[in-house]
């Protein structure tokens, strides 16, 4: 049987690590555009771009994220025997930088980042092991205005990247744990229900609640929880008959947050989701997730994490979010198809006219038009190059019409009206 050319089975050196992907021209360019659009939006809101390493000590990462996510890290040992990880997210790195190098800066601090994160997930599950995350952290402000700013900024960044029609679901990390507490569940039962919710197993939630004597109002809320979504009005509905300061406090905060989001003018596409299932050990206040009809995974997520920085010796309140650049790129591909690599304008040249051709290409690039200059002599009459440097001047094809004249005339014709 003939070997297939390029088949990694026949040429081991051509193999690629599973879960990692190559992006070809076009797709890679659009991902770069997304990163630039997101970071551009962050910077235009005054968030300073931070560069953090791809590698962090295991101890640093372990101080920031839970055991479940630690088990999904690539770990290795360097020549000195230090245990290192490839970062699985970048908020911990930002927290480390703030606690060690920016601790004297005036608060609040606005920081952003963009870069790859890695996940040591099982090979065959079809998930990416490497992905680009772009995110913001707003550190040192306890108020809901900071949370509203993050939601508005996430929406603005996605808009700038051309990721339209997204849905942002805003929840509160204290609501469900608060309802469980005020329902009078003992610590064990609370742990069981929260564990089932974290696994997204609502059948187990129901079973666990059946075994307890939860008050009716709370039971009704907890069983209806996937439907606790909507506009501002669901907060009033949910508050009916609900006792306990914690869940009422969460609802009160969401009411205020909704008004702040309205002031940012981004309530279009924003929903309140009291049933949001998030990492309750990490988030301490309002949370949000970004969804699209064209993706089975969230495009972004964020929330308040007031207890992270104190683990790095810098007690400061903080809120932030992350956008998943590759998932956003997937959404654009689903909507618009694979992007075409940018076409460069070809400049051909006849004998002795190479210098003119190089000069034309240079001036086209200065005017923002990608240009390639032929490496070899061609017979201009035999090519379809839109620009040709010939002994009798420059020939061009622009907007379907042919022209001939000076270098300046050619540059103007090929780049459109000057200015």
């Amino acid at each position: 049987m003939a070997a297939v050319v390029g088949d990694p089975r026949s040429t081991p050196a051509l193999g690629r690590a599973g879960g990692f992907s190559d992006l070809l021209p076009g797709a890679a360019g659009r991902r770069r555009d997304l990163i630039e659009a997101f970071v551009g939006a962050f910077e235009s809101w005054g968030y300073g771009l931070l560069g953090t390493p791809l590698v962090e000590p295991l101890d640093t990462v372990a101080a920031g994220i839970g055991a479940a996510r630690q088990s999904q890290l690539f770990r290795f040992m360097d020549a000195d025997g230090a245990l290192l990880t490839l970062v699985g997210e970048r908020t911990v790195s930002v927290a480390r930088v703030v606690a060690t190098q920016l601790q004297r800066e005036q608060l609040p601090l606005r920081l952003c980042y963009a870069g790859p994160v890695l996940r040591n997930a099982p090979l065959l599950d079809g998930r990416r092991r490497e992905a680009i995350q772009a995110g913001c952290e707003l550190i040192g402000h306890a108020g809901l205005a900071a949370d509203a700013e993050c939601i508005a900024l996430a929406a603005a960044a996605l808009e700038r990247g051309g990721v339209r029609g997204v849905q942002i679901d805003v929840g509160h990390a204290d609501f469900i744990p608060g309802v469980l507490e005020s329902a009078g569940l003992d610590a064990d039962a609370q742990r069981i229900v929260l564990g089932a919710l974290a696994r997204r197993d609502l059948v187990a939630v129901e079973a666990a609640l059946e075994r307890t004597d939860v008050r009716d109002a709370e039971r009704r809320l907890l069983l209806a929880f996937p439907t606790l979504r909507g506009g501002r009005e669901i907060l009033d509905t949910a508050a009916i008959g609900l006792g306990g300061d914690r869940p009422r406090g969460a609802i009160e905060q969401l009411m205020q947050l909704w008004e702040l989001i309205e002031e940012h003018g981004v309530t279009q596409g924003v929903h309140l989701d009291l049933g949001a299932v998030r990492d309750w050990d990490y988030y301490t206040g309002p949370t949000f997730e970004v969804f699209s009809l064209d993706s089975g995974f969230p495009l972004g997520s964020g929330g308040r994490y007031d207890s992270l920085l104190e683990r790095f010796g810098f007690p400061a309140r903080a809120t932030g979010f992350v956008l998943h650049v590759d998932r956003c790129n997937d959404v654009l591909t689903r909507r618009d198809g694979e992007p075409q690599p940018p076409a460069a304008l070809r400049v051909a040249w006849s004998s002795g006219q190479r210098v003119v051709a190089l000069s034309l290409a240079k001036r086209l690039r200065e005017r923002g038009v990608a240009a390639v200059c032929d490496l070899d002599l061609t017979d201009p009459r035999a090519t379809d190059a839109p620009a040709q440097a010939c002994s009798d001047g420059v020939h061009w094809i622009a907007r379907g019409a042919r022209g001939q004249g000076s270098l300046d005339a050619a540059v103007d014709a090929l780049t459109g009206p000057a200015g």
Binding site: D169, R199, R200, D201, A204, R229
Partner: protein, 218 residues
């Protein structure tokens, strides 16, 4: 409820899943409509018939919004999906069974144990923390033959009626779990198509309850 992509499991749960969708008024289908094509458009929804273990894969990756699948499949799957409703059909149990007359069948668990199973993840969880050394042997089918063939001391397998166990002279020693069919949903679909998904969940829950009620009365 329109525009949902629903994954259905081929195999033992398939007829029950079709019956439930029909009685819930979700789709006027019976199992035979899938004879020609594994993808059927019905009442504005798309239904696909896939291998049971693939249902959570389709749902997690967002290729299907919802799916019907046995809890036993979810035990083995590391896929991240919402488990919305216990559909109450397709009941079966995961049991540890050993040959009649074996020491193990008399409750003697000493020493090490070779256990054949199609459910390695469930087996790992079941035996975790037990003071017994277990060697798991993963098989892909006909697990009940393993003890007689000398391959294993016991089996950890699914049983609905116990008939297969009895026919192979195996007796149940312990139960490791019980399973029924579940409605699962993609995390984003639950948020972006929440009205449709919640309507589907409510309709299937009502249908499952009334089937259960009718069985109770019979």
């Amino acid at each position: 409820m329109k525009g949902l992509r629903i994954a259905l499991p081929a195999g033992t749960l398939f007829d029950g899943a079709c019956d439930l969708l029909r009685s819930a008024g979700v789709a006027r289908i019976d199992a035979a409509v899938f004879d020609r094509s594994l993808r059927v458009e019905e009442s504005g929804n798309a239904l696909i018939k896939v291998r049971p273990a693939d249902v959570p894969v389709y749902v997690e990756m967002g290729a299907a919004d919802c799916g019907v699948v046995g809890k036993d499949v979810l035990w083995e799957s590391a896929r991240d999906c919402y488990e919305l409703v216990d559909l109450r059909f397709g009941a079966c149990r995961l049991v540890l069974a050993a040959p009649e007359g074996a020491a193990l069948a008399r409750g003697d668990w000493s020493g090490s144990l070779r256990v054949a199973t199609k459910y390695p993840e469930s087996a790992r969880r079941f035996f975790a923390g037990m003071a017994v050394t277990v060697e798991l042997i993963r098989l892909n089918g006909a697990v009940e033959l393993a003890p007689a063939a000398g391959l294993a001391d016991a089996v950890l397998d699914i049983t609905a009626t116990g008939q297969t166990l009895r026919a192979n002279h195996l007796v149940e020693i312990a139960e490791a779990g019980s399973s029924t069919a579940r409605l699962i949903a993609n995390q984003a679909a639950l948020k972006t198509r929440s009205d449709s998904v919640n309507t589907l969940a409510a309709a299937l829950r009502r249908a499952a309850d009334s089937v259960r009620g009718a069985e109770g009365a019979a």
